[in-house]
């Protein structure tokens, strides 16, 4: 999949963002422009502090930029009111965080049901759909358990189920493999690849983990608040054991 065949879902034009004031003021994003397309995995890569997460937050509408424009599914998120932005995020974006951010005091099915509850679904219906989402990541049998009983990889799979349960057209992932070992990281990435195969959905991943770059359809490399390089790359099949494990997880 590439930019010629996929629908454009995110457009970032000449965005600037500063943090702090006076001598400690940091120019976090410098005239950044970027596009993301449906059906692809876009990775924002680069060293720590280069502005990847700031750009991701701006695209997600959780951070205001000072200048420039950000359109997501044709909506100008840079100009939306906070309340509208909140509703927009609930309807269009699935989030996967580096630290998972699963609520430890409720079961994993209830965690997964949260985006549905935010959108006003009834609890029973939301939990039913959450259980189905957990099935799809291979954790259907453990839906009653609490997050802290799961391994890091399993928690990230729960977070993926949470991000996808309401079928958002844009999935945003911040360092999804940072807290995982290599094997779990690759299993999780294979799940992302399955997600991105949907022609109506785009996945944007922020990472500096070069082990997973091969999963990207496009890589935008950042440094010091700027995008210095954008490369398209052919999709490759993952190592055999990962494919088997992901398949087993999906069909469990």
């Amino acid at each position: 999949m590439n930019e010629q065949t996929g629908r454009r879902v995110v457009t970032v034009r000449a965005v600037d963002k500063h943090f702090g004031t006076g001598p400690t003021r940091i120019h976090a994003l410098k005239n950044v422009s970027l596009e993301a397309f449906a059906g692809e995995i876009l990775m924002l890569v680069g060293p720590s502090g280069c502005g990847k997460t700031t750009l991701l937050s701006a695209i997600a509408g959780t951070l205001r930029v000072e200048s420039g424009e950000i359109d997501v599914f044709g909506k100008p998120v840079h100009a939306m009111r906070n309340a509208d932005l909140t509703r927009f995020r609930a309807a269009h974006i699935g989030f996967i965080f580096q630290q998972f951010n699963l609520i430890p005091t409720i079961g994993i099915a209830e965690n997964v049901a949260v985006p549905l509850l935010i959108r006003g679904s009834r609890t029973a219906e939301a939990v039913d759909r959450a259980r189905a989402a957990l099935e799809s990541v291979g954790l259907g049998a453990r839906w009653r358990e609490r997050p802290l009983k799961l391994s890091g990889g399993e928690q990230q799979r729960v977070a993926i189920a949470r991000a996808l349960v309401h079928e958002p057209p844009l999935v945003i992932c911040d360092e999804p493999t940072a807290a995982l070992d290599a094997r779990n990281g690759e299993i999780v990435l294979e799940l992302f690849r399955n997600v991105a195969r949907s022609p109506d959905r785009a996945v944007i991943i922020v990472t500096h983990d070069n082990r997973i770059f091969s999963y990207a359809d496009r890589i935008a490399r950042m440094d010091d608040g700027e995008i210095i390089e954008e490369t398209l790359q052919p999709r490759t099949e993952p190592p055999h054991f990962i494919h088997e494990h992901a398949h087993a997880a999906s069909s469990a």
Binding site: L63, R87, R89, F95, I103, I106, R119
Partner: protein, 386 residues
């Protein structure tokens, strides 16, 4: 959303229990101390309840029932002469010492009532006959006296037993139900004339004149007429309220103004309040801080600030209700024991739990508000930071 809020709350067992314990403690202190205070204040007006007359006429400077500025015996006739008075009788009220068989002494609240009408006699007799008070050297005692004036722990005082009041014999002819006195001594009824014999002589012995209003007049109207005609102070006996001419109201306010009792109890109530606020606000705020990343994640995922605030309000109100409920339940247990033992004084008018519930919910609201302020300032982008 309600379920999610409650599960988040109950799931953090340590903080949840801490919150409940803090609010339970605050509720218990507030309700128990306020009720004991009300009970103590109600004891100050026991004589008014036990005598039960609708009008009490006393010396003009008297402000409360336990203060006695004696009147002249002729004042009874002066009150009777007022047109608005149906009847007026003498009343003696004073603390006297009783000598028991073993030689020990106990103080009692001696009441002397008119022997002909027996106006001011106990409202309910448990044993014996009120008419027997007209027999020589007889008294009627209240239930408290049964144990307080007992010959030994195994031998409570009974009808027919004798003791001495200031070296003069008193024979028990009845036991009655009476409200306990503020001084802690039991009530002993006798006739007015005999009360004067039991009491060391002085020039004026009449404590008060009890009266009733004539038909067609309210006690308040009759009291005004008595005061205007005789120059004495006439109080009505209707119960604590906002009527400054009610003897209960006047008595209780006198104790509030002139003793350290309200300050003492008030201090404990305020401590309860401070402890409640400190524990609850601190713990709830810590609960919010512990969950700030998760709440921030909810915010990032599209949960609005009002809905997040509602979650915190539901959580705080829930712990408030549970803490209040347990506090009130334990306080009821305390009340049961207090009422069984007739001490410490305990009276819980409905205003106390209602006010305590309001206070506890206010504490919880403040606690939730602190969390809401913190959460409102939390940028959803923060959840992307490791």
């Amino acid at each position: 959303m309600l379920r999610l809020a409650l599960k988040m709350l109950f799931g953090d067992t340590a903080k949840y229990l801490m919150l409940v314990v803090g609010l339970f403690f605050a509720t218990f202190l507030i309700v128990q101390q306020a009720s004991v205070f009300c009970g103590l204040m109600s004891w100050t007006t026991s004589t008014l309840s036990n005598v039960g007359a609708p009008i009490f006429v006393v010396e003009e400077r008297v402000e409360q029932i336990n203060e006695t500025n004696p009147l002249r015996d002729t004042d009874v006739a002066r009150v009777r002469s007022v047109a608005g008075v149906k009847w007026a009788m003498p009343l003696y009220s004073g603390i006297q010492r009783v000598r028991l068989d073993d030689g020990s002494y106990k103080t009692v609240q001696l009441l002397g009532i008119d022997s002909a009408s027996l106006a001011g006699s106990p409202g309910r007799m448990i044993e014996g006959n009120i008419e027997d008070l007209r027999l020589p050297n007889t008294v009627i005692i209240d239930e408290l006296a049964v144990t307080r004036l007992a010959r030994s722990p195994d031998r409570p005082i009974r009808v027919g037993d004798r003791f001495e009041i200031n070296d003069i014999e008193a024979r028990v002819v009845g036991i009655c139900d009476a409200k306990r006195s503020f001084t802690g001594g039991p009530y002993v009824w006798t006739t007015y004339e005999r009360a004067l014999q039991y009491t060391p002589a002085s020039r004026k012995m009449l404590s008060a004149v009890i009266a009733a209003s004539a038909d067609g007049l309210t006690p308040s109207q009759a009291a005004v007429e008595i005061s205007q005609t005789t120059g004495l102070r006439a109080f009505v006996n209707e119960g604590f309220g906002d009527n400054p001419n009610d003897f209960n109201t006047s008595t209780i306010w006198w104790y509030v103004r002139n003793t350290g009792i309200p300050v003492s109890f008030g201090t404990t109530v305020i401590i309860g309040l401070i402890v409640g606020i400190a524990i609850s606000c601190q713990t709830f705020y810590a609960f919010v801080l512990d969950n700030i990343r998760h709440l921030g994640a909810l915010k990032a995922m599209g949960m609005s600030n009002p809905r997040l605030s509602l979650i915190l309000l539901i959580q705080s109100a829930t712990v408030g209700m549970i803490g209040f409920g347990i506090g009130l339940l334990v306080c009821s247990g305390f009340a049961y024991i207090a009422i069984q033992n007739q001490q410490p004084p305990f009276m819980m008018p409905w205003q106390i739990p209602v006010a305590a519930f309001g206070i506890i919910q206010t504490i919880c609201f403040i606690a939730a508000l602190l969390g809401i302020i913190r959460l409102s300032a939390y940028e959803p982008a923060m959840v992307f930071r490791a």
